[in-house]
């Protein structure tokens, strides 16, 4: 038995030598390799909120019509045909009949029929499934199949957003493959590991924790997609994902962080692409005492103190430090991608001196330890931050420093995401650094900030913001039949909210994708950047470089 320490070393050197430079790579079909730090869960759209699954299913399945790039959700203007090639409104606007493209086929060859739409509506509203779209479909009484190619939606009432809810919320599922499975076991159905859709791509393989691959369906009724292959390449964390992009093993990543952007500049083969964002990040104050629903919060129960704490924050500086100067400070509970956005909404400006003065006036007197006190209690609170968000953790550290300067002590409570949600639900927090993904429908703000929402169980208005002025403005906006008047009402609601400072709006998450220069994305939508993946193209040389080509070629 002779073991030399050199033997493994030589083997390793050999393997290292196997690295190809891609020069002799076989001509591959065009491929988009997207790297991301999360695996998928299930591939039935109604059953999942998993971001990876949502992306994959968006190219496997279709909706009846898709929202246009203007993100208009009022009426049907701007909507593009998808699975439905046309639609007709009933005379009283209480029905819409969608005509399904006769060329549309499930990838197993069976034509798509109205019965599939009926089934999909039932799944999305089934209590046993609890689909995300469920509540939005409450205005729809029923869906019927007039004939095999026409699905008719029956509404309870006319609303500005009724078309959007019917056409763009439901992904149509193959009833012929699923209808015999009970709703409660749909989630464990084998279909989830081998989905069959009607969309531009068909499912090829899923290696858990590693790869999800879909291939172009050349028989797709909307025309063959331009990229031959889409691959989601799963990494353990964002850092590993970035290294894959930089090493050329992937050619797309949906989010770049600040330091990543600095790196992109050093890689001539890569580019950064900005796209509008629907994510707004803010610090929510709990207006009531922590944990209980009774009694105001010693600090945040006071509107003036909330405003003072807002003034203490140099939001511009915090945002610039963590991101870059191009990142927008949030003006309120909206982002610039939304139709109702207004960059001139009145703001509570950075003014630490006025903040200190207000605190002084409200009885918070500076103590020897550098912390203000009132009636013996210190001006001290904790802020919840999810342990998964690097950016928010960076930012709270900066905020902690700014708070210290006006005599407020902010403790950082770093928790994992589910714990954060659980704390929120139990109202068990002082302040919480949340991110909110906005719905393209502006009326969504009612779910977030209304008095009714604060009183509801399982609300997202966990900080008990209650203002009749705000409620009235939103109600008027929703009730309005005139789009312009509606927008004016919404803006009035935003201004009221900002002035009451139920939270501090920090930033719109900059959406900057990193990709190879040869990847040419179609317009990336703010709500779903991947909405038009089928229209993207990848240039010839853009196939990501393979890791093992040189030796592989020599082995033939």
């Amino acid at each position: 038995m002779r073991i030399s320490p050199r033997t493994p070393a030589i083997a390793i050197l050999l393997l290292a030598a196997c690295r190809g430079d891609g020069g002799s790579a076989p001509k591959h079909a065009s491929t988009l390799v997207m790297t991301l730090p999360a695996d998928a869960d299930v591939f039935i759209p109604a059953l999942t909120t998993n971001e990876t699954s949502v992306q994959v299913t968006s190219v496997l399945f279709e909706k009846l019509a898709s929202v246009g790039d203007s993100l208009n959700v009022i009426g049907d203007s701007g909507f593009r045909p998808a699975l439905a090639d046309s639609w007709t409104w009933g005379p009283d606007s209480l029905t819409i009949a969608f005509h399904i493209d006769p060329k549309a086929r499930w990838q197993d060859g069976v034509p798509v029929r109205a019965a599939d739409v009926v089934y999909s509506f039932r799944i999305n509203t089934s209590k046993a499934i609890g689909a995300v779209a469920g509540p939005l479909l409450a205005g729809i009484d029923s869906v019927t199949a007039r004939d095999s190619a026409t699905a008719v939606f029956w509404f309870h009432a006319r609303t500005l957003e009724q078309f959007y809810n019917a056409a763009a919320q439901i992904s149509v599922l193959p009833a012929h493959l699923l209808q015999n499975i009970p709703d409660s076991s749909l989630k464990t159905a084998p279909f989830n590991r081998n989905p069959v859709g009607s969309g531009p791509y068909k499912f090829t393989r899923w290696v858990s924790g590693s790869t999800i691959e879909v291939d172009a369906d050349s028989t797709f009724h909307g025309g063959r997609p331009k990229i031959d292959r889409l691959i989601w390449s799963i990494a353990a964390n964002p850092d590993a994902a970035m290294l894959r992009l930089f090493s050329g093993e992937a050619n797309f990543t949906e989010t770049l962080r600040k330091q990543d952007i600095d790196q992109i500049a050093k890689h001539p083969e890569l580019k950064a692409v900005h796209y509008p964002s629907m994510l707004v990040y803010f610090v929510r104050f709990n207006a009531r005492a922590r944990g209980g629903t009774h009694g105001p919060h010693a600090i945040f129960g006071d509107r003036e103190v909330r405003r003072a704490l807002t003034m203490a924050l140099d939001r511009r500086r915090a945002v610039t430090t963590v991101f870059d100067s191009a990142t927008q400070v949030a003006v309120g509970p909206i982002t610039s991608a939304l139709g109702t956005y207004d960059s001139n909404l009145p703001q509570i400006a950075y003014a630490p001196d006025s903040a200190a003065a207000i605190l002084e006036r409200r009885g918070w007197v500076m103590g020897k330890d550098g912390v203000r006190h009132k009636g013996g209690a210190p001006l001290q609170f904790s802020i919840l931050v999810p342990s998964t968000s690097t950016q928010r953790q960076q930012m709270v550290v900066l905020m902690q420093d700014m708070m210290k300067r006006i005599g407020a002590r902010m403790d950082i409570e770093r928790v994992d995401f589910p714990t954060m949600i659980a704390h929120g639900k139990a109202h068990d927090y002082d302040a919480s650094f949340e991110g909110m993904s906005l719905d393209p429908t502006p009326s969504g703000i009612r779910q977030e900030w209304s008095t009714a929402a604060a009183k509801r169980e399982g609300t997202s208005n966990t900080g008990y913001y209650m203002s009749s002025t705000f409620d009235a403005a939103v109600d008027s906006a929703v009730a309005s039949r005139d789009p312009q008047a509606a927008i004016a009402y919404y803006r009035r609601a935003y201004a009221t909210l900002i002035d009451d400072a139920p939270g501090i709006w920090m930033y719109e998450l900059p959406s900057i994708a990193g990709m190879s220069v040869n990847v040419h994305p179609a317009p990336m939508r703010a709500d779903l950047w991947f909405a038009h993946l089928a229209d993207w193209t990848v240039g010839d040389a853009a196939a990501p470089k393979s890791a093992s080509v040189a030796l592989a070629a020599g082995a033939h």
Binding site: N237, P238, D239, M242, L243, F246, R257, Q259, D262, Q263, R317, T320, T321, S387, T390, Q393, Q394, V397, L398, Q400, D401, I412, E413, R414, V415, D416, T419
Partner: protein, 311 residues
């Protein structure tokens, strides 16, 4: 001013080392345990390790006094991810915090946690092992099967599970958990020692004289098992330090913004390509601490157990 503080810290370290050396010299020439001192001193690596440990503990104890910056205070905007320089010895991290000061404080936290956790594990392990060994019989068999089971669980996996189910852990619960998952080896060691002692004359004599069990354990058994326990504990500290760092690295250890070595490495990981210094220096501090404990433990083992000198 700061230089003066560092000089006095160095002087303190030197003084401690000299005091130790003189103490050891008196013991190597006379006294009951002179063989042990001589054997320990015969290992240059163990001696260096001891000096390194003295240094680490002095630096850790004086961290607030020696730190060049506030470990959680943020420097100006231009000091984000700043490379090491004369003013910022280990550079700065993503938030513009001084890595040198953070590592100093982090070492202090890590050493404290490891030491306290090890004390817990020694107490629990000794009590458990002594009970099993002394009582013997069925109870012993059952107790040792439990130890077998716990030894079969990779400790970090168990810690991750506990950390997940009860997150976020406070520093004290972290110490408790690290201590309560580190005593299994010790208990085995103590049990074996107790079993062999039980057969010896002095214990039999004490029992014949009517001494109560507890008294026998206290007077005859414990003093004799302390030697292997101290060796195991010294080696164990290194393991606890690394496990604590691993938990902090996974984000279920010491909560932010308190710097522990694992936390600093975690925060440096995303930037390792561009700001390698953030992850590198706390790692070196970890390796040095663990290495010093391992070497010192090796030296102690050889010193205290003459049967096991370097063969």
């Amino acid at each position: 001013m700061l230089a003066l503080r560092w000089l006095s810290a160095a002087a303190l370290i030197a003084a401690l080392c000299i005091a130790l050396w003189r103490f050891a010299r008196t013991r190597t020439t006379s006294g009951r345990s002179r063989g042990a001192f001589a054997r320990y001193a015969a290992h240059p690596s163990a001696v260096i390790a001891l000096i390194a440990l003295i240094m680490l503990y002095v630096l850790a104890a004086l961290a607030p006094w020696l730190a060049t910056h506030d470990p959680i205070g943020i420097l100006a905007q231009s000091f984000v991810n700043h490379p090491p320089s004369r003013e910022l010895l280990f550079g700065t991290d993503f938030a513009g915090r001084d890595v040198f000061s953070r590592v100093l404080y982090g070492t202090r936290i890590s050493l404290t946690i490891a030491l306290l956790a090890t004390v817990i594990s020694v107490i629990v392990g000794t009590a458990y092992g002594a009970t099993a060994g002394f009582v013997g019989g069925k109870l012993d068999a059952v107790m040792m099967r439990f130890v077998d089971a716990f030894l079969a669980i990779p400790r970090i996996v168990l810690l991750i599970a506990i950390g997940t189910l009860w997150s976020p852990l406070s520093m004290w619960s972290l110490i408790l958990i690290l201590g309560l998952t580190a005593w299994f080896g010790t208990s085995r060691l103590v049990r074996a020692e107790v079993l062999s002692l039980k057969e010896r004359d002095m214990v039999a004599a004490a029992r014949a004289l009517g001494a109560r069990d507890l008294a026998i354990v206290r007077r005859h058994v414990l003093p004799n098992v302390m030697t292997p326990v101290i060796v195991a504990a010294t080696l164990g500290v290194a393991g606890v330090i690394i496990n604590e760092a691993a938990l902090s690295y996974l984000g279920i250890g010491i909560p932010d913004p308190t710097p522990s070595l694992g936390n600093i490495i975690r925060e440096g990981t995303p930037y390792v390509g561009t700001a390698w210094w953030v992850a590198l220096f706390p790692g070196i501090a970890l390796v040095l601490t663990a290495l010093a404990y391992n070497l010192a433990g090796d030296g102690l083992r050889d010193a205290m157990d003459p049967r096991q000198v370097d063969r």
